[in-house]
């Protein structure tokens, strides 16, 4: 099954939900024009569909064999990667000073979605590289930037993030990797890291590891963590590749999915210590890493959207071809295409609704990240930063949860064929499963939302978000259009639920934190449903206003209506779980280990 880049919906979401038209008009994006945006999206969609998508099955089947410390990437990957990097895609969002295209985050987000929909294992490498670029750009010395950024931005070198250790996963305070001052301004790194994505591969001549480690005299906990650049090969003064550094890949994981992405166990300092270069200040590494991790959370959220889009396309195509039974009202010969059966339609519309809803949330977030950087005033930038920080955990948790659900529905639509690996539907489900786990599990996202974001600005930030949603619901009601059915009423119920649940959490945070923590996951879902539902309605309204081609407007309206009437309807139940379900959790004692 091939992938077609959904450029129309992507562009419409950018314009009508992420405010791209307005931002262009306001000059937020400098010289960027709507025409250029369209051209970039078209080209990216073409590259994703024609060059990257064919890598998806071979990557899954052959994986990345590991032997004698070396990882061999699947056939065809290196050539496609080189062409992709040569076309400038890797540096889309990076500083022009170091060779980047300096395009806004919204454009990069749309492209990230397409690379990852075409092949998420392929998309993962650049995703990590972009994170490393951001961390270096924001925190490293000019000298380090000059050495590393140009090659990383061009994609000649890739980057990694080395956080996790066997005892330090969600809780980085526990990490043990050591860094010692070498006396010459460099450091010697010793320790083991696990789950290092693209920690070793043969796509590029060098790999730049960003490594969290602890100095001998560092304070305990997260305040004693420093960030280092540890290149696979040292770089000579003239920029050429020098000696091999004391870092190696010890093994790769045998995983459920993303088989084309090597997940490595890395060993630092077997031979006395890997040479590392401090990024930012000593003991301030976690702050630097968090800058990068927030943007990586958007990127992983986009992986959720991407896999959902891919699974939806495949299920739609299969359901249009496959014939079984006779759907009500079917007047054709013989069996009807299963796409006509109401129960199958429910599955497909659920897939499409969640996918487009999650896309809308992610692009909204990308626009706020842009505003945080490019806003004309300090107040504007701060507002962008605040809203981005609120939307980040929602985007990550909602998009990757629905990624799992949509991919699983994709298997279901295929019936028995879905369980057969050759069909390809099962691969999406396997690939999707990690997105809800890495870059902060979705539980961590929900806890971040509840404990750090809800109380921002004394609750005013969420209140503002809710007001914004109410405006959309009121506009839908104002259309008096039968096409929207009960959309306005259902969205209003969801927003009401969100508002009450928020009020409950604001109070609980002060009086009973365990109560708030117990409600975190249903609250994050509730927020995602209300936000995704209103965003789809907003897009539908804009398409109608703009007199979009009839079919397109009808599709947007129909999808928004389905979402409101069949998916957002879960909101009141989630509210009840948030506001009065916690006692039943905190009252129970589960059995501790022997």
């Amino acid at each position: 099954m091939t992938y077609r880049a959904p450029v129309t919906d992507i562009a419409s979401t950018l314009k009508h939900v992420a405010g791209l038209d307005q931002a262009l008009a306001d000059g937020l994006y400098g010289e960027l024009t709507a025409d250029l945006v369209d051209a970039v999206l078209e080209e990216a969609g073409k590259f994703a569909a024609e060059r990257i998508a064919p890598l998806n099955t071979v990557g899954d089947k052959l994986g990345t064999p590991f032997k004698d410390g070396k990882v061999t990437m699947p056939p065809g990957w290196k050539e496609t990667y080189s062409d992709w990097a040569a076309a400038g895609w890797n540096g889309l969002m990076a500083d022009a000073e170091f060779g980047g295209q300096a395009l806004p985050c919204v454009i990069n987000a749309a492209c990230l979605e397409m690379w990852n929909a075409a092949c998420s294992s392929f998309g993962l490498g650049p995703l990590l590289t972009q994170g490393a670029i951001e961390a270096i750009a924001a925190h490293a010395s000019d000298q380090l930037k000059t050495i590393y950024l140009p090659k990383m931005i061009s994609g000649e070198w890739t980057g990694t993030m080395n956080l996790t250790e066997p005892s330090a996963g969600s809780d980085l305070a526990a990490l043990r990797t050591k860094a010692e001052r070498a006396g010459d301004g460099t450091y010697r790194i010793t320790g083991n890291k696990i789950f290092i994505t693209y920690g070793e591969h043969d796509l590029t001549e060098n790999i730049v590891h960003l490594v969290l480690a602890r100095l001998p005299d560092a304070p305990a906990g997260t305040k004693g963590i420093s960030l280092f650049i540890v290149p696979k090969f040292l770089v000579n003064a003239d920029g050429s590749i020098g000696q091999r550094n004391d870092v190696r890949c010890h093994s790769i994981e045998h995983k459920l999915g993303v088989h084309g992405s090597p997940t490595c166990t890395m060993v630092y300092g077997d031979d006395g210590g890997a040479i590392g270069y401090l990024v930012g200040e000593e003991n301030r590494g976690l702050a630097a890493m968090f800058t990068m991790m927030n943007n990586a959370r958007l990127a992983v959220a986009l992986q959720g959207v991407a896999i959902a889009e891919r699974a939806t396309q495949q299920a739609m195509a299969y359901a249009a071809e496959r014939r079984q039974g006779r759907a009500p009202g079917y007047a054709g010969e013989g069996m009807s295409p299963i796409i006509l059966h109401p129960d199958v339609k429910r599955m497909l519309l659920t897939m499409r609704g969640y996918t487009q809803g999650a896309r809308a949330i992610c692009y909204m977030l990308a626009a706020e990240i842009d505003r945080a950087h490019l806003g004309k005033t300090e107040a504007e930038r701060q507002a962008g930063q605040a809203r981005a920080s609120l939307l980040t955990p929602i985007a990550k948790a909602f998009s990757t949860d629905i990624g799992n659900e949509v991919a699983s529905l994709g298997v279901q639509v295929h019936g028995g064929m879905g369980f057969v690996e050759e069909t390809g539907a099962a691969q999406h489900m396997r690939d999707a499963r990690i997105f809800a786990i890495y870059e902060g599990t979705n539980g961590i996202q929900a806890i971040d939302l509840v404990t750090r974001k809800v109380a921002l600005e004394g609750g005013a930030l969420v209140a503002g978000e809710i007001s914004r949603m109410r405006v959309v619901a009121a506009k839908v009601a104002g259309t008096n259009s039968a096409d929207f059915g009960r959309t306005a009423a259902r969205l209003t119920e969801a927003i009401d639920s969100l508002e009450r649940a928020t009020g409950h959490l604001l109070a609980a945070l002060k009086s009973n934190p365990a109560d708030a923590l117990a409600g975190a996951t249903p609250y994050a879902r509730l927020f995602g449903l209300a936000l995704g539902g209103t965003a789809l309605a907003e897009k539908a309204l804009a398409q109608r206003d703009n007199g979009a081609a009839e079919a397109l407007g009808a599709e947007a309206t129909g999808t928004a209506r389905f979402f409101a009437e069949n998916l957002a309807t879960a909101a009141p139940g989630l509210e009840v779980s948030v506001t009065s379900g916690a006692d039943s959790i905190n009252a129970i004692q589960l059995q501790l280990a022997g």
Copy 2:
């Protein structure tokens, strides 16, 4: 991770939800005593945990290699299967006349759960064999019974179900396999079947295929389908193994999960026609197959329960050992076990609640199947039959849906380790994925529930079910116990939602079938939540009444409360989707193929 048979909860569910104590007291099960039941459960649990569970990983890893028409089962499987059959487990429910143990369906159901929790690929073979035994016992001639039943009941031979063809999956009317009268009372079968579980293997000396095929002069559609026995080896007059029949395994599927279960493409009649023996009457094959399929639906539902139990045990054990962060109120040294984090508890309680709720529904169904066969009066048997027919699609859809969800949560609880295959959590998720598809997809189950079952007895059957639930909710309210929290209120809300949704569907079935079909899936889920929630409350009430050991009663009450306050809370939203979500589905036109 090992498996411990949850014999305590199984026994409690049998007694307090499936009415085992009462049935024993009423003499419904003849000479069977409570002590014997306990002994059987203990022994089955022991065999499952000690002998079958160790097969699970090797089956997944090595699969069932296929070469030159032969399937090689994984190492250790044949010996364990032989010992299992020799112990009489295969014939637990079969007629004593042919060597079975003639134990009731409830006992077999509990054992099926345990075999499949230990290793679902192992459990699948006997599951199909039992189905074939039932079909033969109910419909075949005495001669065929005498030849086939003793060896199949003893487990010396296994059985298969050959329904599906490439163009005939959910819609059997389309099947094309041919049967021609040979003139000597036998038939010649020609055609291809796909997705044949255990169609070929080396566990036993013979395999008895039950095959649906069409006679040359048969009416079109499902009224022209006949059922045949087609043995792999013909059977001589003295019962010994004779000539190889003209049937062969052409290939096996490369599947997402249940790798230890060979899924075969079968070719009949390459060499002139496989010899087949008619079961029942010509053109009445589908009716015979349906008898068997209903019981197979319970068996597959139990696979959902089984995988959920296995995944829950593994996640609980991991969460009790794994330490990260500090949970609120944790007073110990260093990091706390993650089982203490409220968000992780929510996941684990969701897993336990769904698992035990689905178990309760399945055992309830098994008890009704017993009542349908063993009831003292015709009225009693009819009542059992009616309720079994109502509960079947709910049990199948709910249990296998939650099987997927619980197995996926199990991966999530493990964090990054869950994505690594060696951990074993991912295997449960892969294995579980087929249960919602085979033996009638869950969409088909929901449609069966809505179009055939809801209207039974003019709606009185469902009304009776609802009344029964209300009694339980009232009893919970009557305890005035703080331990139950808001259980009674939440269950009542769920039951109210079920009642209103049922009323809507009864009307829609007459006026607008597409509306009813569009609401089928959320209705089935709603029914499962209300039924599972009340069943857990019923079990908790009984344990409290019986003065069960304090911890046990507290666990049952806590689980019932969690289910009511956090899972059954989805009911009102599902009701809204059933009663007013259909228009948005039926209004949309999805794109047909090219």
